[in-house]
Amino acid sequence: MFDIGIVGGGAVGSSIAYELSRFNLKIAVFEKEPDVIFGASGRNSGVVHAGFYYRPGSLKAKLCVEGNKKIKEWMKILNVPFKATGKILVAFEEEEVQELYKLKEIGDTNGVEGLEIIKGSENVQKLCPTVGEAVACMYSPATAIFSPYLFVIALAETNLLNDVKYFLNCKIVEVKRENGNFMLKDQNGNRYECRWLINATGVHCAEFSKMVGIDSYRIYPCKGEYLLLDKALAPLLNMPIYPVPSKDVGAYLGVHITPTVEGPITIGPSAEYIEDPEGYETTPEIMEQLFQGGYKLWPYFKRSDVIRTFTGVRAKPVPPGDKTFYDFLIKEEESVPNFINLIGIESPGFTSAPAIARVVREIIEKKEKLIPKEKFVPASPRKERFEDLPEEEKQRRARENPEYGEIICRCEKVTKREIIEAIENPLGAKTLASIKYRTRAMMGRCQGGYCLPKIVEILEKEFGYKPEDFQLHKEGSWLFSGRMRKND
């Protein structure tokens, strides 16, 4: 039996597990996908928000400001790449300048540090030399960029060292109460028992809550499409550029242009309500809108700079057209004791995740005393990317280990050693996308054109994969229908 059952292994679920694994608790994380970064955790702008968009006093405001500091601390401890770039919100029309002042006031009230209004195109360009012709901007030094998937992977791998159990490919399909505990059943009929149950299912939170017996929430999935631009442009963008937020969709920050820590640049997201909580599709019309919107902020890219498009889905608790402010909902349900619901955790949910985890811990602590573990491991060992090492060190390692000499992904310069370590990841995630997120192989401008067959070869020759074992991401995403000819 587990003390804590967390359903959903993404940023929020894994942060909660990290927070609780400091104590003598038996923790299980149930993730329906074959890896922890296939949901919203791997599909976002990769921005640590400062907290000036949200109504003062709200959970979003408090947890975002708290999370901003905390997630940076965690990333330092976990050795996850982030860059304290700051960001600017730019006004292109005089009437938008008023909006900047309003946001600054909100931000100041929320305790966001260092917000500054800067007037005049020249002054704006001193901060960000490549921004389009703006009349003014608000500068937020507390905003940062980070690698969202490496963060979640680092959390999960650390959690494993602290005896958190991760169940991948494990979709909870039934929850029953027995003797005051929760009895969970997954899609394969396996059963799990836990004393506390935490709903960290993101866009599926209403559905899961219903499974536990509380049918009072609704989620309206809202899609955000992105364009991803070639990292060759990286030197031309030093920080995220955001517009003044749109008023058409509630809590929508507008199409922004954001550098990533690895180099490529994202443009997006859009905001369209859809039916399917996993409708990760891109559409020609929206891609065109993103291109136009991005170009206004930062006129430095061409159509041919796009290397990939992708989509995330927000867990919005309000229907289309409803522009009222709504907050995160984090509470233990009175009617189902020990069931902690997290509803509507959309942006700034990722930034807030460490603070959300603190709130969840306090809910539990109200009912029971948590005893700190004697040996808590703060971080799993994480290596630097080989490509980021000094040349001398690269040569030394390549001399010692041939696997460091062999470059598998030419675009991102990923070595065979790194591919093998990703294949051997402690979570046991076995998909090609798992290797991609961990190493950046297949993520560059040729999108696996060169390295995919090489990775396939490694999996076959060194890990004994058969044709049917290759899976791109989700269950059922087979790569090969078989062999062309019988192997001798």
Binding site: S304, V306, E406, Q447, G449, P453, S481
Partner: protein, 411 residues
Amino acid sequence: MTEKDVVIIGAGPAGLACATRLKEIGVNDVLLIEREKKLGGILNQCIHDGFGLHKFKETLTGPEYIERYLQKLINYKVEVLSDTMVVNLFPDKSMILSGPWGREKIKAKAVVLAMGCRERTAGAIWLAGSRPAGVYTAGVAQRLMNIDNYMIGNEVVILGSGDVGLIMARRLTLEGARVLMVLEKLPYSSGLPRNISQCLNDYDIPLYLKTTVTRIHGKARIEGVTYVSLDDEGKPIPGSERFIRCDTLLLSVGLIPENELSREAGVAIHPVTGGPIVNDTYQTNIEGVFAAGNVLHVHDLADWASMEGELVADFAKRYLEGSLPQTQNWIEVKAGEGIRYVLPQRISGKIDVNLLFRVSFPARNKHIVIKDKDRIIKRKRVINPHPAIMENIEVKRDELKGVQSLEVMIE
């Protein structure tokens, strides 16, 4: 640091031809670098025939074509470093090599870029819809099937009518897959006419022109595509959307010269060819750095890439000897009306030059005209100019006397 007279990066048809030719003309201190274990580049996976008609006057498969060069390479004792990637190239012609043997920096007096090209991807063409498994570029599919022995799917739609896609349509059919259709957004195929005939028509595979995919369906494995007809401006015609079920989508939507290393070294790249800007000695803007084959511009035939490699060998030798034509007054060569690009982009006027170019649109019974301002220097009739077919015109040194600029156009 090791220093070589000539380092050739890439041992495909261009690099191999360049290396062997260098030996034949007496340049001995040559290093040929190949990132794969086997030499030959993409030709290793091209098991169909049709290679060598121009170079060897017979039709060969890709591996057979390569074999001709490998024999010479062995006979000439060319120094080869395979399984080795050039990870950085610097403006001073030094470079960092990496392979299972280790990693080190070397230097060259002359560098021949012969890295070939890569395929345009789904992201690069803004392909909309979901991101399931089963969307392969044609060349990757070819490699997975012909080298790695994997069957990639059963019900196949091919987007784009590039040559690799056409070859794969036939290949997949022969292996028992059903190739349902080939879609091409242009009003004409971007592949060679002989491939349309031999790979599609012979197998009753339909080719739909002015048609493209607007949506990929399926979350895990691809389950189908929506495709639409396009009007004369290339815009989707409303109401023309149709759905077809498939488990594989192959993309054959263009090749891009692979110039990441060149760019890093500071080689100027031409916006249309995607390859280095070169002069009539195939030298880039960096002295002693030459380019040949698909890294320079995408060729129709491996034979042309090899011939370019040989040509560059001669110029590299002359560079080492200090006998390349010198000039302060380069003649710029412009692609005029109806011409997509012309190579080389600048000429000295001191040697004969073979101008290579592609037309922008298919046409019939036209003339190619080469002009210096209003003065016609040369005129040549072309029966069926087609963007898929590279054309050429030789211009002799004598014809270039007094020429200030050159423009190639179609009339």
